[in-house]
């Protein structure tokens, strides 16, 4: 069971990376407007 001492900290590090990515995305303004991009995605013809 001592594998837990490696796996769990590893999982926590992964979670930390995910949270870090979210914080980065938020600071970039990715969540400022969640309504318009859905219209943009299907229309990009050029």
């Amino acid at each position: 069971m001592s594998v837990l001492y490696i796996v769990i900290p590893l999982a926590v590090i992964f979670a930390g990376v995910a949270v870090g990515a979210f914080i980065w995305a938020t600071r970039q303004g990715q969540f400022d407007d969640v309504d318009t991009p859905k219209h943009r995605a299907i229309q990009d013809d050029d």
Partner: protein, 813 residues
């Protein structure tokens, strides 16, 4: 003169907006038709830039609104240095950007079209539209194009641009939003990981777990919880401390107490190596509370944003007369002594005196007087009045803050400051709550010291954790934000939840007359004389923009075969022309007499009776003889009577306050069923404010109004409601804005508020009952960490479910 030629006619769809257009004469079937020149311009621009796909997208989308049209202005004021310093930001390398609010964007096709702006205006690098806020950010190279060219291009596409105001406040709100999202993300990640450890440990309670592993799990949960408490959870401690320092009651005090007790005791038992831990419950509490707060804040923000957009619609430019000619300049750059040109239909941007030209002014916004006032050189004019008929030049005496409107706005701010803030029930209860929690915890601690001293502190801490008023704190804001969201979908924009609370119990409701109970514009109320002259008069009147002529044109009936020719308009008099070859005149009695028209005794008697009834008589003469008189007046909104009756049935006393002449006010009051004794006329804005203050000191007071003259009263009332089409000042100070014409929304609002408060009370009762039960169990020592972890979120979920299930404001019919 061939004025009455018979023309063939059929109905075609406008190539841009799709509205029906009457097409005269023979035509090739493939020809395109337009309902107005604005649509024609927009269509031409879209075509020439190869953006035809817009129409295909539009068909897919099938929007319900009509496409908007531009104004055809040149937007020269966008190039003024003052405008640049106010609204345009400079990046590196000659790149500039500005935020513009666009009127008329509503669908996916609009997003597509607006974001193709770089193809329409060379030099524009990017245009990004935020559909919800109707805000576009345009980035361009300053050496390749000018701001006025960008604005004019957007206008030609059919989206009139307005510089967005309050950029700093918007940026600050954006930062707040981002910070809240980050807090939720961190709290969520901590809570879910701590829950996983907790699950493992709960499973380990039943099996046998290696004590070394158990210890490891405890330390891991402690790490997650400490991160959650010290980073996102800090907001609760900070706000509780601030409340304690200000000696105010706040629900964050008992919440912070529970988080603190649970956290500190669990850290202690973890270090000690044995005892109960509450890390899972504490971290889930932080997460749930943050989510609840975010939902609430976002809802209020949406309503605030919507009102702000309406704000940006007010004119921001003036036409200054200078030696180089007449220039559009931003309103901020005009100074006393400047000469401004004000065209018919524009609003007057500053206080001053007319130096040239005669016209009629609509001062309803300021005085509540619904009838146009004649003005000539020497007449003083106030900012906020609308110039109705002729072009005038005005010498500026005062601008901005110093104008009459500016002084009124200071009264408004004062009115808003004087209003006592409403203390939410949950905050009021928090004092009792904290005292109760601490007393119960002390009793539990002392009692268990005698029964089982080993577990006494455990039980006391369990009590503090399970009585955390998390559901209580969520109940009110969640229910309110659901109600606010549903109301907004019904075009009722509520700025804050306290207005809902105040509207739930009846009191007195003051209605403004002009623009609130009435439509606020001229309509034909009575027609005396030849009915056949109506169509002839309508044909002639449709050629003029004067409100009186527009009223007669709208009264109709419109006959497409009748076309007016030789149209001539006399400022302050009337319109003359020819219909079917016959001379026709529409104008005031004075104008008709000055032309020497045949004014029979019958017609003169009819004119006198119209004046006696408070209507403005307009003479219609055909072939040199006055054949009919139109009595113009302000018309009551069609739903006013029913709405006022409903309000009265709901227990409200309905009164009317107006700046208009008392006899007119009494007439309107009788028409809508308000006791004439409760309808007061001839009131100045200051009188209105005094009346509302007097009532507000005694009972629940609601003020409904639309104009600058109501703004101070709106701010002073318990709840201020601004109606559709109201002035900027009334928008700023009102708690609620009705984005739909008529008074029916007020009835919906009162009913909805009542239902919302019912739901809130049920929610509060449920959460208090839950806390009492959990507290009793904890005193008996029956609450273990696993029970706390299960029951705690359950209470919040109950509140969530009740809030979203409730029918506070019904769905749109």
């Amino acid at each position: 003169m061939p004025v009455d030629s018979i023309v063939t006619e059929h109905i075609a769809a406008c190539a841009h907006c799709g509205e029906p257009v009457a097409v005269r004469g023979p035509h090739p079937p493939e020809a395109e038709h337009y309902c107005c020149s604005g649509c024609e311009t927009a269509h031409a621009v879209i075509r020439s830039c190869g953006l035809d796909r817009y129409y295909a997208l539009l068909r897919e989308d099938a929007p319900t609104d009509a496409r908007s049209r531009g104004t055809g202005r040149a937007y020269a004021e966008f190039d003024d240095p003052m405008f640049r310093s106010l609204h345009i930001k400079r990046g590196g390398g000659g790149v500039c950007w500005m935020d513009l609010f666009l009127s008329g964007v509503h669908c996916a096709a609009c997003v597509w079209l607006v974001e193709r702006l770089p193809r329409v205006v060379p030099g524009v690098l990017e245009a990004r539209l935020d559909l919800r806020r109707a805000m576009v950010r345009v980035v361009w190279r300053d050496d390749q194009t000018r701001p006025s060219a960008i604005a004019a291009a957007l206008d030609r596409l059919g989206y009139a641009p307005h510089p967005a105001r309050d950029g700093a406040a918007r940026a600050a709100r954006k930062q707040d939003d981002r910070a809240a999202l980050i807090r939720i993300a961190v709290a969520g990640a901590c809570a879910s990981n701590v829950m996983l450890f907790a699950l493992a440990m709960y499973a380990g309670l039943f099996d046998t777990m290696d004590p070394r592993h158990a210890g490891f799990f405890r330390w891991m949960s402690m790490g997650g919880t400490l991160v959650s408490l010290l980073w996102p959870g800090r907001v609760f401690f900070r706000s509780a401390l601030a409340a304690i320092r200000a000696r105010a009651l706040h629900l964050d005090i008992p919440i912070a107490l529970a988080l603190f007790a649970g956290g500190v005791w669990s850290v202690f038992t973890t270090i000690r190596g044995h005892g109960e831990i509450y890390f899972d419950t504490v971290s889930v509490l932080v997460f749930a509370l943050l989510v609840g707060r975010f939902i609430q804040a976002r809802q209020q923000r949406w309503s605030g944003d919507a009102v702000e957009l309406l704000f940006s619609l007010t004119p921001t430019s003036a036409r200054r007369v200078s030696p180089e000619g007449v220039l559009d300049v931003p309103i901020e750059s005009i100074a006393p002594g400047d000469i401004l040109e004000v065209r018919a239909g524009d609003s007057i941007p500053a206080d001053g005196e007319i130096v040239e030209g005669t016209t009629d002014l609509d001062e309803a916004l300021l005085t509540g007087e619904s009838r146009p006032v004649a003005a000539c050189p020497g007449t003083s004019v106030s900012a906020g009045s609308t110039n109705l008929s002729g072009m005038i030049r005005v010498r500026v005496r005062a601008t901005g803050e110093a104008t009459r409107v500016g002084r009124l706005m200071r009264l408004v701010e004062e009115g808003a400051r004087r209003r006592a803030p409403i203390v939410a029930f949950a905050d009021k209860a928090s004092g009792w709550f904290t005292a109760g929690m601490l007393a119960l915890a002390a009793i539990t601690l002392i009692a268990w010291l005698f029964i089982d001293p080993m577990h006494a502190v455990d039980h006391a801490v369990a009590l503090l954790v399970v009585t955390c008023p998390c559901a209580l704190g969520l109940a009110t804001p969640l229910t309110l934000s659901v109600a606010l969201g549903r109301a907004a979908r019904r075009d009722i924009l509520i700025k804050g939840g306290d207005a809902v609370e105040r509207l739930a119990t009846p009191g007195v409701i003051f209605l403004d007359k002009t623009g609130t109970v009435t439509l606020g514009s001229l309509h034909v109320r009575r027609w005396a004389g030849d009915q056949a002259a109506r169509a002839v008069a309508a044909a002639l009147a449709s050629g003029s923009a004067h409100p009186a002529a527009r009223a007669i044109a709208a009264f109709g009936p419109r006959d497409p075969r009748l076309v007016a020719a030789d149209l001539r308009e006399t400022t302050g008099g009337g319109v003359s022309g020819r219909v079917r070859g016959e001379p026709v005149v529409i104008g005031s009695g004075r104008f008709a007499r000055s032309l020497g028209l045949d004014f029979s005794a019958d017609m003169q008697a009819a004119e006198a009776s119209l004046i006696a009834d408070g209507l403005t008589p307009i003479a219609i003469a055909v072939g040199g003889r006055v054949v009919a008189l139109a009595g113009l007046g302000d018309a009551v909104r069609p739903d006013a009577r029913d709405a006022i009756n409903s309000l009265r049935r709901l227990g409200w006393r309905v009164e009317m306050l107006s700046g208009d002449h008392p006899s007119i006010v009494a007439g309107i009051a009788a028409e809508v069923g308000i006791d004439p004794a409760l309808a007061r006329g001839g009131l100045s804005p200051e009188d209105k404010l005094a009346a509302v203050r007097f009532a507000a000191a005694r009972e629940r007071t609601v003020m409904v109004g639309d104009g600058v003259n109501d703004a101070a009263a709106l701010a002073a009332a318990g709840v201020g409601i601004a109606v559709h089409g109201g002035a900027e000042a009334s928008l700023a100070t009102a708690d609620i804005y009705l984005n739909r014409p008529g008074l029916t929304p007020i009835v919906e609002l009162v009913l909805g508020s009542r239902r919302t408060m019912g739901v809130i009370r049920r929610n509060l009762a449920a959460s208090v009952a839950y806390n009492a039960t959990a507290g009793a169990l904890a005193v008996l020592g029956l609450v273990t960490p696993i029970i706390a972890a299960i029951v705690m979120p359950l209470s919040s979920l109950t509140v969530l479910f009740v809030s979203f299930r409730s029918r506070s404001f019904g769905e749109r019919p």
